[in-house]
């Protein structure tokens, strides 16, 4: 895993927290260093701070998405600002966790992203539900612009604090199916042109 955060102290903390579960192959403190470092070592997962000097996490994502589609990004932030979160997800991150996350959950999230799944924290699930809520407007592409009832249910349970495993048991489906639903939501989130998504995120920025 490659670690990108502008606070050296935080990087050291994450390194020690992850311990043996995850191998940290490099770290960087700015967007520029991150792009160069990631190109050099080509990690499986990049743990990427949303706020970085030199363009933020988004700049890193945009620089590498085209050339290294196999690298997966997990966004990390102290920010609860919806537009930051939606922004990095739309730019290609496979998940979003807050810096307050417990070590075990972080390890879990990194491994999950490494295996190609999406990681939704309760907060992200809340944002997505909020953004895809209000079905008054006729969607331009129902395939992408609407969540299925099942996806909505999955997101709602995540927002309520259920883990994937608890969720699977509760809905009587397999964890794999949960992952499929979540990945599908992520795809919709990244590809949807639903104009509310932009407007909703912008609304939250204009304080």
């Amino acid at each position: 895993m490659f670690l990108v955060d502008d606070h050296g102290l935080f990087r050291a903390g994450v390194r020690s927290e992850l311990g043996d579960a995850v191998e940290v192959v490099g770290e960087a403190g700015t967007a520029e260093d991150a792009v160069a470092g990631i190109r050099a070592v080509v990690p499986d997962v990049v743990l990427l701070d949303v706020h970085l000097p030199g363009g933020g996490g988004r700049a890193v994502l945009e620089a590498l998405q085209g050339s290294h589609p196999q690298i997966r990004f997990l966004a990390l932030s102290v920010s609860d600002a919806a537009e930051d979160v939606i922004d990095v997800i739309r730019a290609g991150a496979r998940g979003y966790v807050t810096k307050a996350i417990a070590s075990a959950d972080l390890v879990d999230a990194v491994l999950r992203v490494a295996s190609g799944d999406a990681v939704f924290s309760p907060r992200l699930a809340g944002f997505v539900l909020d953004a895809f809520g209000g079905d008054i407007v006729v969607p331009s592409d129902p395939e992408l612009d609407l969540l299925t009832p099942r996806e909505r249910e999955v997101l709602r349970l995540i927002a309520r604090g259920y883990t994937y495993r608890e969720l699977a048991r509760r809905l009587g489906i397999s964890v794999k199916t949960v992952e499929t639903h979540v990945s599908s939501v992520l795809r919709k989130l990244q590809l949807s042109t639903r104009h509310e998504l932009t407007r909703w995120a912008t609304d939250r920025r204009l304080i």
């Binding site: 609860d80 309760p122 907060r123 909020d130 809520g133 604090g161 939250r204 204009l206």
Partner: protein, 438 residues
């Protein structure tokens, strides 16, 4: 200077939020109207006070008063009136507080006596044929006083004050009284100047009313020529001044906020490093507070009911606040996720209170320190899910003397047409679903 006061008072963690006025040192040009001196006084301290206020030597002020009194008696009148209306004070007292100390009776009597003595002296001098200045004295004095009123405080550093004050006029941040005082001073000064100038010209060549008017017009025209460029420059500076002021006020607000919140918490944390629970609680509270400030859950412009009147509290904010309170009382970490929002009404208020009780219960009885709260508001119903991964319990076996869940939660929601459902598995955790119709 603001950052200085921040670092000065940071080590005293107990003090709460303070008004911004106290933290801001009063600038020299904010000293307001003149006062009567406490220390430099011969009779009532008026001359001394004017000297302190204007920066002139007090002996000059006294000579002017005596001269005016001796020549026309006007100085005596001015002194009596001045002593009666000008409060005793000094530069350290803020202008808005000065008017509180009214002139005392003894000062009034004394100033009246002094005025009478001066007036008597002036009359005596006249009797003796010593009419200093003659018929020109009155107009000259009027014009002089007017001129002094208008220009006395526009010496280099005083001009600064004018600009600041005038710049504040449209913003309305200045108390109305001092704006009125400024306008009154300008009006009085201008009138006196005009009257003095006019009657000066009229006396010089005693003749008809027309000439007086012409003289007034000439004086006014002269004044316009004199003051025109200055006024122009003043207006040009206005925009810059205002921009700068808004910027510095915004900065001051952020600095004040950080001081009252983050720095205080950091100081507290430094003092209690050996009690991790307290530290964690302090830090969590601070984090929540700062987040609330940086990222309001609902954008202010999109808040329902915003416009005129007080801002409307919404259910999401109310839930966050209620959970924060429970969090602090019960040493529990709660993550709140909200979807949708609505202005608070009676039903949603009941939902908030019930949520608070449920979170407190979870903190007390579940044996875990983490609780998830999820609020969802849709057009038909508002729901709150409170979930913990604690020990779980069997609702049927809760002792009948425990009223929390039954009274505070179920009954309260039932009164508003809502419900509370408990899903609990012993050993795995509890989820309580609270709902009220919209």
């Amino acid at each position: 200077m603001r950052s200085m006061s921040v670092s000065e008072s940071a080590p005293s963690p107990i003090c709460g939020p303070r008004g911004r006025r106290e933290r801001r040192p009063r600038r020299r040009f904010e000293q307001g109207a003149p006062w009567r001196s406490r220390s430099d006084r011969v009779f009532t301290g008026l001359s001394g006070g004017i000297a302190e206020w204007s920066g002139l030597p007090s002996v000059v002020v006294r000579i002017v008063f005596v001269g005016l009194a001796a020549s026309t008696g006007l100085g005596a009148l001015a002194y009596v009136v001045g002593s009666a209306v000008v409060p005793v004070s000094d530069a350290s007292v803020p202008p808005e507080r000065r008017r509180l100390d009214a002139p005392r009776g003894a000062d009034l009597e004394r100033s009246a006596a002094v005025g009478l003595v001066m007036l008597g002296g002036a009359l005596l001098l006249r009797r003796l044929g010593l009419r200093l200045g003659g018929s020109l004295a009155v107009p000259a004095a009027l014009a002089g006083i007017g001129f002094a009123l208008v220009w006395s405080r526009t010496a280099v550093e005083r001009r600064e004050q004018w600009r600041t004050r005038v710049a504040r006029l449209p913003a309305g941040s200045q108390p109305a009284t001092s704006r009125r005082a400024l306008l009154a001073r300008l009006a009085c000064g201008g009138l006196l100047l005009l009257a003095g100038g006019a009657s000066f010209l009229a006396t010089a060549s005693p003749s008809a009313l027309g000439q007086v008017l012409a003289a007034m017009a000439a004086t006014a025209g002269g004044l316009a020529v004199l003051a025109g460029p200055w006024i122009l420059r003043l207006w040009r500076d206005l925009a810059d001044e205002r921009r700068e002021r808004i910027r510095s006020e915004e900065f001051a607000e952020v600095a004040a906020h950080l001081h009252d919140s983050v720095l205080q918490t950091l100081a507290l944390v430094q003092r209690n490093p050996e009690t991790p629970r307290d530290v964690a609680r302090l830090v969590r509270r601070q984090e929540r507070e700062l987040r609330g400030w940086l990222y309001p859950s609902t954008p202010r412009h999109a808040r329902p009911g915003v416009g005129v009147g007080p801002p409307t509290l919404t259910i999401a904010e109310a839930i966050r606040t209620a959970v924060a309170e429970a969090e602090e009382q019960h040493e529990v970490e709660a993550e709140v996720v909200t979807v949708g929002d609505a202005p608070l009404d009676d039903r949603l208020m009941a939902l908030t209170m019930a949520t608070r009780e449920v979170v407190a219960n979870a903190a007390r009885h579940s044996g875990t320190s983490e609780v998830s709260i999820y609020l969802e508001v849709d057009p038909a119903v508002a729901s709150v899910y409170v979930r913990d991964r604690g020990c779980g319990f069997d609702p049927a076996r809760v002792a009948s003397d425990r009223h929390g869940l039954r009274d505070s939660v179920s009954a309260r929601l039932a009164r508003h047409g809502g419900s509370a459902v408990v899903n609990s598995v012993i050993g795995e955790g509890t989820e309580i679903v609270l709902q009220v119709p919209r």
